[in-house]
Subunit: 353 residues, 2 copies
C-alpha cells in the first residue's frame, strides 16, 4: 500500500526521542462520547459494535477530533475486545453493564478450544478501518493502532465481562498457572498478528493497553502481564516502509514497575497521573520516551486551571527529548469539548522550542 | 476506665518494631459478610447502619472472627462514613448502590455550614462500642480504632456517594483550592477528636483508611490527602495509660509515595498488594513498621496456594522487626471462611522465631 507522505511527524519523532518543535499531544479515547458529532455517528450506526465493525463509520469518528483540534496523532477507533470476539466468545454490550461475553473461558479445555483468529478474515473489518483511516488522513498526522494486553483481554474472557476483583482469573493464575499461561500465550500470539496486520495496513505506531495489569501483585504482574507484553514487543514489525514503528506500553497503575516495563524493548511508556512525570523520567533515564500524564479530571476544572496543570507537567518533564503529552487515562464523556481544546492548545503553546 | 491486662501484645510490639515470637496477623474487614454469623447478626439488626449504631451488636460482630481464628488484633466494627453522618449529611444505603448522602457539599457556604460534631454525643454510639468491645475482649488481643482519611471522607461528601472519577471534588481542589482546604481541615480536626475519643474509650492502636488518596496525582496527594493525615498524626494521643498507641496510615494505591507517608511521623504503613513488601521495606528503612500485603483474591485459590503466598511474603519482608501481616485490602464476601483460617494459621506457622 502507498500513502501520502507524512506532514506532521512530531509524534513519531518524540517517541524515538528525537528533537521536536513543540511537544506532540493526543488524548486517549479522543474519538468518544464527549463529542456531539461522535454521539450522532453512534446513533446512526446503531449499536457500539455496529460502529466498530463498519470501517467507514469507524473512520468517520476517528477523524472527528482531528477536525476540531490541532492533535498530533489519530488513533484507530475500535474496541479492545475485538480479539476475544473473533475467538468466538460472542461479545455484546448490556446497557449500563459494560461488555459481556456469551461464552466464558474457565478451564484448560476452554483454553485449548479457543481458535487463533485469522486477522485478515475474522478481523478484516479492523484492517479495513486502518487502511481507510490512513488514506483519509492523507498524511496530516500519524495513525496509532492498538490492542489490549493479553492480561487485560484475559480478565474479560475469564470473568465474562468487567470485574472488580478478577477472582476467577486470579484463582486460575495461582492454582492452575499452566492453564493461565496457555491462555496468555495464545492471546500474545494473536495480538502480534493483529498489531502486525494493523501496521501492514497503515498504522504508524502501536499502543498496548494494559488496563488491568495494575490489579496484580508485583510478582504476578511480571509473570502474567509484562512477560506477554514483552513477547509481543519481540514479535512486532518495528520498521515499515523505511520508517520505525514505535511501540508504547501503557499499564494503568503501573507506576511502581516502570523500570521493568522499559526493559521490554518498547519505545515509550504511557503513564497514568499518579506518578510525577519528572520522577518517572529520572527512573527510566533515556531508555524510553514517556507519554502522559494529566489527570483527566482536570478537564472538569476551569481553563485557567487546565493551562496551569499542563505547564506544571511540561516543567516537571523538563527540557529533554521524548515527551508525548496525553491524559493519564481516557477522556470522560461529561467533559466540555472546549476544555479539551484548551488542554491541547496549551500543550503546544507552552512547549514551543 | 480500667481494663484487663493485655495477654497478646504481638501486634502492638510489631508496630513499634520490637521483636515478636511470630508475625502478628489480622484482616481488614475481618468482621464481615464472608462469615455466616456476621450475616445472621446483620439480619437481626435490620439495616447496616442499625448494626453500626448498636454498640452491643457492633461488639458482637467485632468478636466473631476472634472466636473462629487465632487473630492478633480486633478492629472496631463501624462504617467509615460515621463522621459525615454526624455532620448532618444523612447517610443511607441503597441496595447495590453503596452509601449515599441526602445532603451534598459543593460550595464554600456548604462547607462553612458543616458543624464539627461532638464525639461524645453525636458519635457516642461509636465510643460506647469501643469501650464495650475493649471490655469484652478482656485483654485477649488489642483493639484497633479507625477513621477514614479527610480526603476519603470528602470524596463521599462532595460526590454524594461512591464515584469513579471524583469529578466534583477534583474540580474543587483545582478551581477552589481554598474551599477544599477548609473542608479537609474541618474533617482533619474532627478525625483527631474522633480517634482520640476512641483511644480514650479503649482503642489501643488506630488506623487511618485513605481508600481514595491513590486517585490523586502525586502533587495533589501531598497537598490534599497526605497533609491532612499528617495533621491528624500530629494531633493524636500517642501514649495512653503508659503504653504507646501506634498509628497506621493506609493509602490504597499509595505505593509510589511511601517515603513521604513514612515522614508524617506515623508508626506503620499499610500496603496494598501491588508493591513487593521487600522493596517497600528497603525504601522506608527502619522508619516505620509495615502492614500487609497479600492480594485478597489469593483467598479464592487453594489452601496450598494461600500457604505458598504467605511464605513468599514473609520471605520477601525478611528477618527484620516491624511486620504486621494483613491482606492488601478488605476480605471479600465470597471468600470461604476456611480459606481465611488457612491464611491466618500459615502466617503464624511460617513466622515462628
Amino acid at each position: 500500500m502507498s500513502f501520502a507522505p507524512l506532514k506532521n511527524d512530531r509524534f513519531l519523532r518524540a517517541l524515538k526521542r528525537e528533537p521536536v518543535d513543540m511537544t506532540p499531544v493526543w488524548m486517549m479515547r479522543q474519538a468518544g462520547r464527549y463529542l456531539p458529532e461522535y454521539r450522532a455517528s453512534r446513533q446512526k450506526a446503531g449499536s457500539f459494535m455496529d460502529l466498530c465493525t463498519n470501517p467507514d463509520l469507524a473512520c468517520e469518528v476517528t477523524l472527528q477530533p482531528l477536525a476540531r483540534y490541532p492533535l498530533d496523532a489519530a488513533i484507530l477507533f475500535s474496541d479492545i475486545l475485538t480479539i476475544p470476539d473473533a475467538m468466538g466468545l460472542g461479545l455484546y454490550f448490556e446497557t449500563g453493564e459494560g461488555p459481556r461475553f456469551k461464552k466464558i473461558v474457565r478451564t484448560a479445555a476452554d483454553v485449548d478450544a479457543l481458535p487463533i483468529p485469522d486477522v485478515e478474515s475474522d478481523l478484516g473489518y479492523v484492517m479495513k478501518a486502518v487502511s481507510t483511516i490512513r488514506r483519509e488522513l492523507n498524511g496530516s498526522v500519524p495513525l496509532i493502532g492498538f490492542s489490549g494486553s493479553p492480561w487485560t483481554l484475559a480478565t474479560y474472557m475469564v470473568e465474562g465481562g468487567s470485574s472488580k476483583d478478577f477472582r476467577h482469573l486470579k484463582a486460575m493464575i495461582y492454582d492452575q498457572p499452566e492453564v493461565a499461561h496457555r491462555l496468555l500465550d495464545k492471546l500474545a500470539q494473536t495480538v502480534i498478528t493483529y498489531l502486525n496486520g494493523q501496521i501492514r495496513h497503515g498504522a504508524q505506531a502501536v499502543q498496548i493497553f494494559d488496563t488491568w495489569g495494575g490489579s496484580l501483585s508485583a510478582e504476578a504482574y511480571k509473570q502474567f502481564s509484562l512477560r506477554y507484553m514483552k513477547q509481543i514487543v519481540d514479535g512486532l514489525i518495528r520498521d515499515q516502509g523505511g520508517r520505525a514503528v514505535p511501540v508504547i506500553l501503557f499499564t494503568k497503575n503501573g507506576g511502581l514497575w516502570l523500570e521493568s516495563m522499559a526493559a521490554t524493548g518498547c519505545d515509550a511508556l504511557g503513564l497514568d497521573w499518579t506518578i510525577n512525570i519528572g520522577d518517572a523520567r529520572r527512573r527510566v533515564g533515556d531508555k524510553v520516551a514517556l507519554q502522559g500524564n494529566m489527570d483527566p479530571a482536570v478537564l472538569y476544572a476551569s481553563p485557567a486551571t487546565i493551562r496551569a496543570e499542563v505547564k506544571r507537567i511540561l516543567k516537571d518533564f523538563g527540557d529533554h527529548p521524548g515527551h508525548v503529552f496525553n491524559l493519564g487515562h481516557g477522556i470522560t464523556p461529561e467533559v466540555d469539548p472546549e476544555h479539551a481544546r484548551v488542554f491541547i492548545e496549551a500543550v503546544h503553546e507552552f512547549s514551543q522550542r
